[in-house]
């Protein structure tokens, strides 16, 4: 198993879920991260709690582009939880550095990285690639549409990738979280009934993986919320403050 954004709460919960369900099926879990310290804590944890070996690969998506660090990284499961919320529109719209970072991390620099592995999956003709997008990518809203547009690009990428890899025996899962109680949203007030814990998210994603679903919302209620939001005519939507 290869995990991008290994220290994210959702990655940690997903790793735990996979091990709890399937035991030490993967001789080694590859933890791809930009933060060695925090990831070392995770690697130790996996070893002590689950007797699970792992390898840390430090790769900072904002600046690294030498993929040779992945030369020995092979698996049939790729979990991608890389994401960066950045500042909201009010604070960040005219902040070019922030805007570039949001686009780079959520889309521009992420796609080539995943593509590097797509090649591998295509050759091995099996496996699963799981990518985390966001409900923000389903309709642009005034408060965070830069992030939303990058996630929208990622959504479409995953659609296309699924279609492309279907013919090669590789399955692609698009995960669409709504509000999540994770590091990314730390400090943001979220309405409780709509907010999923990393553990709940991991359960949903694991099921999608087991049963080869194409797209899953976290949690399910977001499918309906977004259905309604997408039904609002643009002439009305543009006037709403969301």
């Amino acid at each position: 198993m290869i995990v991008f954004g290994a220290t994210s709460d959702i990655s940690q919960a997903f790793i735990a879920k996979v091990i709890e369900k399937e035991g030490n099926k993967y001789p080694k879990i590859y933890l791809v991260t930009s933060r060695r310290d925090a990831t070392e804590r995770l690697a130790k944890h996996l070893e002590v709690k689950y007797n699970q070996a792992s390898e840390i690969i430090v790769f900072d998506i904002t600046k690294d582009s030498d993929y040779s660090v992945f030369d020995s990284v092979h698996s049939d499961l790729l979990f991608c939880a890389i994401g960066f919320l950045g500042k909201n529109s009010q604070e960040g719209l005219y902040d070019a550095v922030n805007t570039e970072a949001v686009i780079a991390i959520n889309y521009a620099r992420l796609i080539p990285l995943i593509n590097y592995f797509v090649q591998q999956f295509e050759q091995q003709k099996s496996g699963t690639i799981i990518g985390l997008s966001s409900v923000a990518g389903l309709r642009g809203r005034q408060s965070n549409f830069i992030y939303g547009s990058a996630k929208a690009g990622f959504l479409v990428y995953l659609d296309g990738l699924r279609n492309y890899l279907y013919h090669k025996g590789v399955h692609v899962i698009t995960v669409i979280p709504g509000f999540m109680d994770t590091k990314m949203t730390e400090g943001l007030p979220l309405p409780k009934p709509l907010t999923a814990s990393p553990k709940q998210a991991a359960n949903i994603i694991y099921n999608a993986y087991r049963f080869k679903y194409n797209k899953v919302y976290i949690s399910g209620i977001w499918r309906y919320i977004m259905m309604i939001i997408n039904l609002i005519p643009e002439t009305v939507f543009k006037k709403i403050k969301l």
Binding site: D9, R41, V48, P189, L190
Partner: protein
């Protein structure tokens, strides 16, 4: 789609008091440093399985639940190290199959290691093996300045002992290292004995002092002859030879059990004196024999309540308090019968009342609840008459030089609580601490 900054409602296990506050969790120490610096006052909260207001703060609560990593497990020497938000349940899941057990455990495994230190918890082996922190080798704690200090009985020992049972008032514990106990099996050999009154149960505690684990369930609604009617349970870790063949094959592995859940807050009329009386009656008489001896697994022995999710809902939405006091052994019988009489007179039934013999903690552990004596813990539903009853009970406990357990307390008087003395930083503060200090008596 983000809403305006709105505070969330938080309460601990007894659902009383409920406060509005900002609660934040993080696994990142740098982030935590920032949170501490930016807060006026703050308190650590583990799994919120204290009953009252000790891990609550109206400005900011730092939830340790994301400090959930294991660090090391030395299987040769039985030493375990993890971050402070790890649940005892998670520790057990890993250590039991390797032939180890927690040196001390409270009546629920759904608490964190940080909470075990903050309250310096005790269990059924308090009289024989002391409190949790007797087995803590060291911990690291982030203090007001954001520095991380390593503490042990020999290094930063003052901070160590102020933190042990210090109810979170010294800082935020990040990691802890403690020793484990070796076991041959995941089972307990238990004996269950009926005692017809207070006299008999006190004699039992004396007689069975040498057993590692002991606790009694007591029926608080009896008066006169049968006051103190109770059931004593004592136990030892079973050896492999003591197990029936079927269990002896895999002595350290338990089957997963079904869990039950209380799906919603019970309406308040469900629990009244009548139902509690009936429950207590059946509990006492379901055991027909005066004495049983058998083998049970550790979950059933230590954590019977954990098998029912959210059992605290049976007390309804207004919540309840658990009143746990201890009085010195020489006043034991007299004090207990006084308290039991007062409770029976009040007709405020308590479902669960637990009586236990305690041993004083060592002197350095000055914030710890146990003294040489007897402790009783019972639940009361919150209602209008309760504060008056608590006042009455507090006065009795005070008369016998007793004290109240801060991990349960939500409304007792200062003089019973201020054995916990920890230098004030001003930064780490709780609703409980403010309540106790604000009181002028």
């Amino acid at each position: 789609m983000m809403t305006k900054m709105n505070k969330q409602k938080i309460a601990n296990w007894g659902k009383f008091p409920v406060i509005e506050t900002d609660m934040i969790a993080s696994s990142d120490f740098d982030q935590l440093r920032k949170i501490i610096a930016e807060s006026h006052t703050i308190i650590a909260r583990g799994n919120g399985h204290s009953y009252g207001d000790n891990s609550l703060n109206k400005e900011k609560i730092f939830s340790t639940l994301k400090l959930n990593k294991f660090i090391s497990f030395d299987k040769q020497n039985g030493i375990f190290e993890c971050e402070s938000g790890v649940l005892l349940a998670d520790v057990l899941a890993v250590i039991v199959p390797e032939g180890f057990f927690l040196p001390v455990t409270p009546g629920t495994k759904l608490i964190t290691v940080g909470g075990a230190i903050g309250s310096n918890v005790h269990g059924k082996n308090n009289h024989s093996e002391g409190c949790f922190c007797d087995y803590v080798l060291s911990f690291s704690i982030m203090v007001e300045t954001g520095d991380i200090k390593t503490c042990s009985p020999s290094e930063n020992s003052e901070l160590f002992w102020n933190t042990v049972g210090g109810m979170g008032l010294t800082g935020i514990i990040l990691t802890a290292k403690f020793t484990l106990k070796r076991i041959e099996t995941a089972y307990i050999r238990q004996r269950v004995l009926k005692a017809k009154n207070l006299e008999e149960i006190f004699n039992y505690f004396e007689t069975f002092k040498n057993w590692t684990y002991s606790v009694a369930w007591i029926d608080c609604l009896q008066r006169g002859e049968t006051i103190g009617r109770s059931i004593l349970t004592i136990g030892e870790h079973a050896t492999q030879a003591e197990l029936p063949v079927k269990k002896a094959n895999q002595p350290l592995h338990l089957k997963n059990k079904l869990k039950f859940a209380v799906p919603f807050d019970f309406p308040s009329f469900i629990l009244n004196t009548f139902t509690v009386k009936a429950f207590n009656f059946f509990y006492y008489f379901k055991q027909i024999k005066r004495e049983i001896e058998n083998i049970t697994d550790y979950d059933a022995f230590f954590y019977p309540l954990d098998a029912i999710n959210n059992w605290n809902r049976i007390y309804g939405k207004n919540g309840f308090i658990q009143y746990q006091f201890i009085i010195p052994a020489n006043f034991g019988k007299e004090g207990m019968s006084n308290v039991l009489q007062t409770i029976a007179d009040s007709r405020q039934g308590s479902f669960l009342a637990v009586l236990k013999l305690y041993k004083a903690s060592k002197e350095e552990a000055h914030n710890s609840f146990p003294i040489d004596g007897y402790s009783l813990a019972l639940d009361f539903k919150i209602n209008k008459q309760l504060p008056a009853l608590i006042k009455k009970l507090d006065n009795i406990v005070e008369r016998y030089n007793g004290r109240i357990y801060l991990a349960k307390d939500a409304m007792s008087k200062k003089s019973l609580l201020d054995y916990v003395k920890t230098p004030e930083t001003g930064k780490f503060n709780s609703v409980q601490h403010e309540r106790i200090n604000g009181e002028t008596n």
